[in-house]
Subunit: 149 residues, 2 copies
């Protein structure tokens, strides 16, 4: 089993690849039914006439897909206590059925705790679709344990 | 059928009540399995030892529940083209199984389009639990049609 990454292993600029995530119409509609029942997330015909110009995932669904990609990448490799912080980011492009998303998580800040054996590592996550367009940017801070001194 | 609310009907300071939303352990775990499989969202024993001190919903799940409460309130009453903007807010308190959430959506900005018959109305949503603690604050902008001149 490989050694886990600690706070010191997350210097600013280090990048991690997440994904892929295959987006299906079924999942878009299922999420929308449960959490965001606006017509442009539920129905192709209504979506064509909407500001999105076609069926697209709820922006909150895209955040959730990104969380999943990030967790799948980070949980097995990091000595971390989980995510912290707050929803913060920007939706850049609609996410469509058939899109294949991937994310790049780059360390943009690493701040050790003054008193505890932890530090906060903040990743800027860029989510790309298969056309290399950025669909979402978002901040993802985690609490990482410090390594043995 | 009551007349729909247009841009002019959303002056700064007007408040709307959303909810309630009954949070269950089953839904917390189901969401976490799909989108945020961290142990403190999945397993009570692991959650007790975590920074959350007990099982709690993924913060993205809380955003999704808030979206649902807001959509259920707003869609039937507003002449709106849907939500816009970006994920922005702050998670304030863990959301636990058995919590009953409600939200207050207050208009904090109403900006007409210079050229189109629309305007952007931005709501600050405060999500309260049944102990009247704020669990989440978040911004929710929508595009609302202007009324007949």
């Amino acid at each position: 089993m490989p050694e886990l990454l600690h706070f010191e292993d997350f210097p600013v600029g280090r990048k991690f690849d997440c994904g892929p995530y295959h987006v299906t119409k079924e999942e878009i509609v299922e999420y929308a039914r449960e959490f965001d029942p606006q017509p442009h997330h539920l129905d192709e015909e209504a979506a064509k006439k909407s500001i999105l110009g076609g069926l697209a995932a709820s922006g909150w669904h895209t955040c959730a897909m990104t969380m999943r990609m990030f967790a799948d990448m980070m949980m097995p490799i990091a000595a971390a206590r989980g995510g912290v912080g707050s929803p913060e980011g920007r939706w850049m492009k609609p996410v469509r059925p058939g899109d294949v998303l991937r994310a790049e998580a780059e360390v943009i800040e690493a701040r050790p705790s003054a008193s505890k054996p932890f530090g906060t590592v903040t990743f800027a996550c860029k989510v790309f679709n298969q056309r290399e367009q950025v669909a979402l940017v978002k901040m993802t801070p985690i609490i990482a344990k410090r390594g043995a001194p």
